[in-house]
Symmetry: C2
Subunit: 614 residues, 2 copies
């Protein structure tokens, strides 16, 4: 008896009885469920807390797709499966908050097969490559394919299709109502990178409408604004566009962080100077490491987010901050409150590492299930096992077997296609030229002295010819421009992977090599080819929308490696040759770019005219 309780035992209308005399000391009427057995128990490892930065010995238990406990090592627990993690670190699955699946030249299944063993368990993909080619159907297909894999593959709706309306013709156009309808699809969490930042800061109503529609839905709005600063940066942010993954001068990165831009650093943005500047700030702003565009041979050889994190650490980012920048911080950016840390209640996306600064991935768990070990997938991973048994290469398959296998809607071009005809009078004249650099994808505005003879423009010997040919069958068009800054022998590269409209881009020093490379690509129903002396020396077939392949990742990586080597041998030496070539057609990336309609002065968002803007 705890003392006389005047009211005890009188009961409550419709309820149970009260007081210790009625039901003993146990609480009356509560339903209990037995603690369920865990599905997986990871024993003996050390957990790295991305919250406190501590590393501590703990067992990690998983029930269903969630972490059910993080407890002292050796705590007795029943579990259906156990992993011995002695000597290993248990860290959260890696999260990429800005990337494009198409840059891997692989379909979602192939991408997951290649990157899950590297620890990437969640990505936000902006599928603007396929959507520029195939429209909304392309996004729906990516959603379906992504959902089948054990990687969480979320998507943004491409905001700029085409990238610069009025200056290029892609395979599709998305208007505001199209974007709004797609924002409501399951698996869509945001608006893809708003690349036409000039439109935004000049108050373009269409762009404001699209961004406003996303914001009203509470969607993430992804930015793209290289070098944007000051009052213009405020305008861009004020619209609600609050991330940027482009390369910026160090002071601009700090300005963007200070003003609330979620800073996303990709490999080309990493530098010792940047980490020194960030380290000198009184507080650490939220920063994510992202992959943006990485080719499959580079993923195989060097890694995915694990590689970016390693590079960041090499350049001075503290290892714990690098880990947070591929886990908790991007989870927050993606508003995925259910992941990003090894803590109870969160999704069981886990990576077992041999050590931290090296980000050496050994075992990968997604949704509570082991999907990769020792750099490779385990047997029978759903959504992937069936995908890799599809036709080996697109060129072997019939159109019917390849999704979006008919998007190259031109005939194999002959050498005459690669002669730059003009109505200008014969004689010497100065033409604007695109100056390429060997490090990043920006170009500079330059000019060269050309000679017009018989209505054909002839370039000086150290200059290559670039042409972009409309390939979607929407409205025929072709444009030309000289390219300088490269020391190329006889040869050419042709590609249908040419941001963002993905028309057929051909760069070369002879009409014969250009015709050979272009024809090989057209016959493969898309891809990238290099020709030397009029003969094709390397070909990567990309028959899925002219962008991707269903072949096994290793084969695609090998073909991509061969193309990269052929480019290099030809003289196209660049830190990221695929992106350098393919963005020659991207009219929202500084400074001078060529579309199927003409030469674009990106900064001024205008057709480039000789004598101005150089």
């Amino acid at each position: 008896m705890s003392g006389g309780q005047a009211g005890a035992g009188r009961g409550r209308p419709g309820g149970g009885q009260f007081g210790p005399t009625q039901s003993g000391r146990e609480r009356p009427g509560i339903a209990r469920t037995d603690r369920p057995v865990d599905d997986l128990l990871i024993r003996g490892g050390s957990v790295v807390s991305v919250l406190t930065g501590e590393t501590f010995e703990a067992d990690v238990a998983v029930r269903g797709d969630r972490i059910s406990a993080v407890v002292a090592p050796g705590t007795p627990r029943e579990a259906r499966e156990r992993i011995d993690a002695r000597g290993q670190l248990v860290v959260p699955g890696f999260i990429d908050s800005h990337m494009h699946v198409e840059s891997s030249f692989l379909t979602p299944a192939g991408f997951a097969a290649l990157t899950l063993p590297r620890g990437t368990t969640t990505v936000l993909a902006d599928p603007h490559e396929i959507v520029n080619v195939c429209g909304a159907d392309g996004l729906r297909w990516m959603l379906d394919e992504g959902r089948r894999t054990p990687q969480t593959m979320l998507f943004g709706v491409p905001s700029c299709v085409p990238a610069l309306p009025g200056f290029e013709v892609a395979g599709a156009e998305l208007g505001q109502s199209d974007v709004e309808a797609l924002l409501d699809l399951p698996g869509v969490v945001g608006l893809g990178e708003v690349m036409d930042y000039r439109a935004v800061v000049s108050g373009d109503a269409r762009m404001a409408g699209v961004v406003g529609a996303a914001r009203d839905r509470g969607a993430i709005v992804d930015g793209h604004c290289p070098g944007l600063t000051g009052a213009e940066l405020s305008e861009y942010l004020a619209l609600g566009i609050d991330s940027d993954h482009t390369k910026n001068p160090v002071p601009v990165v700090v300005e963007k962080a200070r003003l609330g831009m979620h800073v996303q650093l990709q490999e080309k943005s990493l530098s010792a100077e940047l980490f020194a500047a960030l380290g000198a700030l009184p507080m650490r702003p939220p920063i994510s490491l992202v992959t943006d565009d990485i080719a499959p041979d580079a993923i195989l050889a060097r890694g995915h987010l694990d590689h970016i994190a390693r590079r960041a650490v090499e350049l001075g980012m503290p290892p714990l901050e690098a880990l947070r920048a591929i886990t908790l911080t991007p989870a927050g950016r993606l508003r995925l409150h259910d992941r990003g840390s090894v803590t109870p209640g969160r999704r069981a996306d886990l990576v077992l590492l041999r050590d931290l600064p090296a980000f050496a991935v050994e075992t990968v768990v997604t949704g509570g299930r082991v999907v990769a070990r020792d750099g490779g997938l385990v047997e029978g991973v759903p959504g992937i096992a069936d995908a890799v048994s599809r036709p080996a290469t697109a060129s072997d398959a019939s159109d019917g077997g390849t999704p979006f296998g008919d998007t190259v809607r031109i005939a194999p071009p002959d050498a005459a296609t690669f002669r730059w005809r003009t109505t200008a009078p014969d004689g010497p004249r100065r033409e604007l030229a695109i100056r390429v650099n060997a490090v990043d994808t920006s170009t500079r505005i330059d000019s060269v002295e050309v000679e017009v003879r018989d209505g054909v423009v002839r370039l000086p010997p150290d200059t290559a010819l670039l042409t972009v040919i409309h390939r979607h069958g929407v409205a025929p068009g072709q444009a030309f421009a000289p390219v300088v800054g490269l020391d190329l022998g006889d040869g050419a590269v042709a590609t249908t992977y040419a941001h963002d409209s993905h028309n057929l881009l051909v760069l070369g020093t002879s009409a014969e090599s250009m015709a050979a490379a272009a024809s090989a690509v057209v016959r493969a129903r898309g891809g990238i080819a290099v020709a030397r002396g009029g003969t094709v020396v390397a070909l990567l077939p990309l028959p899925v929308a002219g962008l991707m392949s269903e072949a096994p990742a290793e084969q695609v990586a090998a073909d991509a490696g061969a193309v990269r080597a052929a480019l290099d041998e030809w003289g196209y030496r660049h830190a990221n040759a695929f992106m350098s070539v393919s963005t020659l057609a991207l009219p929202v990336s500084p400074s001078l770019k060529l579309t199927d309609r003409g030469l674009v002065d990106v900064e001024r968002r205008a057709w480039a005219v000789a004598g101005e803007g150089a």
Copy 2:
């Protein structure tokens, strides 16, 4: 001319014309909107970035309810209204991620009037006090009242009404289906603190159902688990309950932070030892400062979140971290991605401070509008101006004029009500006693030697009598317990604000004083009274649900101050006397508490029985 464009001018089906010859260098067909004039321009101040920790001179422009620009000082901009902020810091509005409006004894309008001038612009309120009294109607009324004020007042659905079912009878009960229906109300963002942590960790199915329903909706789930640690903490977190605002030993705070619990520190939790421990961690975990329960006289005298931040800094929290802990971090916790920093695109909730470590608030802007200056509201703030013109005190008003003015459904009790009758035989016996401390609201289990004479328990002289009387008219009940640890003269305190069932709690040393205080409270239709020598010496009328007053904040604060002073004079000396008294009835707060049904052993979640658990 940028070079001959083979396709230029051919046009596009249904689209515009292409190429420089058609429309010059301007992009064709884009709609432009002129940059609108700003509504407010805050000039000459220094912005504190809670992202990078930098303080930098900048002008802050506001358009509508959003920040439109943060730009170099003196940048020319048109604006309808200007504020000279020279010598001031511009920081984000303060955000409280865990609090109870009712603890201010004010309605939402009164609370906003009192705390907006202190810089509090957003709160997440758990209205479990009024809901324990009035049920779902209480929540709906709070939502409506809160929406009228310029403070963002978000609400959680009380998860535990009553706090400990089976051990107390409140004015209402919320079942799982009730909770689910309320979760969908606009303005509701989460599930209120899950206080019955013993039920959670023992696998109670009802609790799991309520929490699961909230989680399925993506709602925030607020915790309450003092001292919970180890495997039990994992169980609690695994259910998805991931914040805790209770007082914990320093190592438990660190454990909770490490395991992903959002740590919310209220004033009683702050200590130099804690900040030393947090400062020694390799990384800063997300931590919010919260107010939980603060009485109006304390808010007037010392402040609200500004006071907690000042205290934290005094005890060793770096000022920038304290600022982040009342802005960006709680915004993240509440998933309010639209606020928490002074950055373009975010909501214009701004505070102008004289200096940072002192958190001296001068001007407050919510949604782009100046609402407070120099410690007071500006004229005519909507939702507040009308509220303070309501009847001055509840005791002056008729029942009809007071919302929920009829919730004290008992007659004024006489002295006989405060004699502890028992069926135990006459003679000495040992009874369990509640031991109160002077610092926090936890109690310890103790016992005293009492004397039963003529069926009445007589206490030793250094012991007070506590009784809780059911006041809601649901099911009559009364229980008694001795209280030790206080050195009280003759007197009593009576209150209908008695967590969480808010029955009539009376603590005293004489039946006459207890009857006087209790009768005054009943006649006031709720409130808190102190009596000495059989006469009431202080009364705070709380006629709105027996919890709140519609009187002006200053008057309520003055009455509350008088009650506090009377308690102190009587000998009830405590850092937070209101909470200490009123939580004597809270059966989920350690360790021994009294409800209208009996004495509860909180840790064991069982009726307390002498000889066990002490």
